[in-house]
């Protein structure tokens, strides 16, 4: 932190004392954010001038939040270690997305629902052990229907961690433990294992369906590093094809994530120097497909899309001093307020990809599965009793597993994205 001129601290100290001390009721209400704005300013004005009252307020802070406040500071989403892995995770999600898009596009394949479940599992499975086992397992399970193109895509995605710096720069975002576990697997085992899985004899035998030509061209091209011009055309071809398939198959699901992905693929092919960025865009698409929440407003989608495409930065979230939710699409340079219904003063926030959870006074909890465009109020109940205490902490490790801490020292956990809750 920058140094202040000494005179500033001296004058801060010497500021005239402002009237009588606020009573404990007001100090409590300040920390619990239940003061009217005018009173809040009065109390803060006094606190700025009164070391004793500042001391009292600091000492009175609840213990439970100590750990909570310390934890996010360490595992903040700006940590480079995390960012590097998030890029690797993005590659994994690209694979998941490609699989689910391909299936949706192919009328012979199974119902799309199933793929989104598979993708969701890959993206959001809670157990790291289960996860580390997952990529090969998924490959095996899908061997019967998987085209060589996809297998190559997997193989292509794997070497990406080789340029972690680029990826880290491209994929700024919070990484769920699931993603971390996955990427660890990728990082440690290296591409060799996946390539092995892709080219195993079992696969070759099982694969008796012709692949989508464009898809294989693009992936082949990326793999072999063909000249940029050629790639361009192929990428565009693929782009068109995806669009066509996509809208034919799921007309009412107006999800622009598909073009985003396609653009990502195209960009990847066009400019190998920017290879790392494609997975980041892919991750956005993958996360959206995986969440199965595809209906989104066009304008918001475009805004998000352009932000992802130009900056390739995932949105960042914060709560303002007056308890309203804010989002930044430019890595924290500017913040815009995101309206949440109910006009509640929020005190806790959790963001996992596009899944946002905000909690506040009297057990109010809102959830958005689409980066804040649509909100649903979640009313946690356990044993028939609703959650009524103030929510002071929200933690989500992935889309499904989360924990609330309340002012009444309770801990509420969910393992199914807020459908059911356990109280401790």
């Amino acid at each position: 932190m920058e140094q202040l001129p000494k005179i500033v601290t001296q004058r801060l100290q010497a500021m005239a004392k402002a009237g009588p001390h606020p009573d404990p009721n007001l100090l409590t209400a300040l920390v619990e954010k239940s003061l009217a704005e005018r009173e809040r300013i009065q109390v803060l004005t006094h606190l700025a001038q009164c070391a004793d009252c500042r001391d009292i307020v600091a000492v009175s802070l609840p213990e439970i939040e100590m750990a909570r406040a310390a934890a996010p500071a360490k595992s903040g989403w700006l940590s480079w270690r995390v960012l590097r892995w998030s890029a690797a995770a993005a590659c994994v999600v690209v694979v998941g997305t490609a699989v689910s898009l391909y299936r949706r596009a192919n009328p012979l394949s199974e119902a799309p629902r199933k793929y989104s479940v598979v993708a969701e599992k890959e993206a959001a499975s809670p157990s790291p052990q289960g996860l580390t086992a997952q990529p090969p397992e998924a490959t095996r399970r899908d061997a019967g229907t998987r085209s060589p193109a996809e297998d190559k895509l997997i193989a292509n995605a794997a070497p990406a961690p080789a340029s972690p710096d680029q990826q880290a720069a491209a994929a700024k975002g919070d990484l769920s433990p699931a993603g971390r576990a996955l990427s660890k697997q990728f990082g440690r085992e290296g591409p060799a294992k996946l390539q092995e899985a892709a080219s195993s004899p079992e696969h070759a035998r099982a694969d008796n369906r012709p692949p989508i030509p464009a898809a294989s061209q693009v992936t082949d091209a990326v793999a072999s590093g063909t000249s940029a011009g050629e790639l361009d055309t192929k990428a565009e071809q693929r782009n068109k094809q995806v669009d066509e398939f996509y809208f034919k198959d799921s007309g009412q699901l107006a999800d622009k994530a598909t073009p985003t992905l396609a653009e990502g693929v195209a960009g990847k092919a066009k400019d190998t120097a920017q290879r790392a960025k494609a997975p980041a865009a892919g991750m956005v698409g993958g996360a959206m497909v995986a969440n199965g929440k595809l209906a989104r407003s066009e304008a918001a989608e475009n805004e998000l899309k352009s932000s992802y495409a130009s900056n390739l930065v995932l949105p960042r979230w914060t709560l303002s001093s007056d308890g309203s939710l804010q989002r930044s699409l430019d890595a924290g340079k500017t913040w815009q307020a995101i309206p949440v219904p109910g006009n509640v003063t929020f005190r806790a926030l959790a963001a996992v990809g596009v899944e946002i959870w905000v909690g506040g006074a009297k057990g109010t909890l809102y959830h958005s599965s689409d980066a804040g465009e649509h909100w649903v109020q979640v009313k946690p109940t356990a044993g028939g009793k609703p959650l009524t205490a103030d929510i002071i902490g929200v933690e989500f490790t992935d889309a499904r597993h989360g924990k609330l801490t309340t002012a009444a020292n309770e801990t509420w956990t969910t393992a199914d994205a807020g459908q059911t809750w356990d109280r401790k």
Binding site: M1, Q3, V8, A14, P24, L27, T28, T45, R54, V59
Partner: protein
């Protein structure tokens, strides 16, 4: 009861239903708090926080922000209702000892702290011959639990911190750290224009900003602590501090300019007082000397050789 009758009479139109709803919500009936008693409590709270001519909307807003359940419980305890005390003890007894342990960090002090709070809560202290129960000063502005914490923190600060602060004030003065002494004597004579310029800039800051500055630079609170007090994310505080540290110097310089100082004079005047900066410069100078010391010595040795 006189209060109660008066309160009903004073209740502005349109608030009756609000008060009735709050009474139902408070569950005061359980602890034999009657509707009129409850209404009297609300009036007392209102008188404490609002001007007599406050609008109906302001009153309603205040009332709706109150923790009426906690308020009814606390006031019923203060009135000596046994059922209320049972509930209170069930909810807070253990918690209070936990909180005391957390605040005091040391078991005997924690015990003492919790016991003294209980004494206050039970009303063993008397004022003007009347038993005074501390719970009757709870007004429901925050949660009862939060209030108990704050009251305990207040007691702790009054008892221990202040004492320690007085004892160590001399030491801290030597280190260049000053706590709120009644008149912090300036270390060197400071140009009054610098003081007034700084005061002007500081007073233009928002209360939030001044609080953050004081908590961070004077109390050396962590970003996390300040963020929790203001109920915002740490990054917000961090950004705020960065921004202020950058802008304050500029603003003071321009305020000095308005007071007739040249840019250079102003910069110098500000620089002179930056003790921390001076320390930094000194330590940097020391480092530089270290690196040059070796060649110097060599040169001296050579000179020595030459002479010898």
């Amino acid at each position: 009861m006189n209060d109660a009758i008066q309160s009903v009479a004073e209740l502005p139109a349109g608030l009756e239903s609000c008060v009735a709803e709050l009474y139902a919500k408070s569950a005061g009936e359980k602890y034999s708090v009657t509707a009129s008693e409850f209404s009297a409590i609300l009036l007392e709270v209102r008188k404490k926080y609002l001007a007599p001519d406050a609008s109906t909307d302001a009153i309603r807003e205040l009332y709706l922000s109150l923790r009426v359940e906690d308020l009814a419980l606390a006031r019923a305890c203060a009135a000596g209702n046994e059922r209320a005390w049972e509930v209170f003890m069930a909810r807070f007894r253990e918690k209070l000892y936990d909180v005391a342990g957390y605040i005091a960090k040391e078991s005997s002090a924690a015990r003492e702290l919790a016991d003294s709070l209980y004494a206050d809560l039970y009303g063993t202290t008397t004022r003007d011959g009347q038993r005074v129960c501390k719970l009757s000063s709870y007004t429901g502005r925050g949660s009862l639990e939060g209030w108990l914490r704050t009251v305990m923190a207040q007691e702790y600060v009054n008892r221990y911190r202040r004492q320690r602060r007085l004892v160590s004030l001399d030491e801290e003065n030597e280190e260049g750290k000053q706590f709120a002494a009644p008149d912090p004597a300036p270390v060197a004579a400071v140009d009054p224009r610098i003081e007034s310029a700084t005061d002007e800039v500081l007073s233009a800051l928002s209360a939030d900003d001044r609080f953050v500055l004081a908590a961070y630079y004077l109390d050396e609170r962590t970003l996390a602590e300040i963020a929790r007090i203001l109920g915002v994310h740490e990054s917000t505080i961090s950004r705020k501090l960065d921004k202020m540290a950058r802008s304050l110097r500029k603003q003071i310089l321009s305020a000095l300019g308005r007071r007739g100082m040249s840019r250079r004079q102003a910069q110098e005047a500000l620089e002179v007082d930056v003790r921390d900066l001076r320390v930094n410069i000194r330590s940097r100078l020391a480092q530089e000397r270290d690196t040059t010391a070796f060649p110097d010595r060599k040169a001296e040795a050579r000179a020595g050789d030459g002479s010898g």
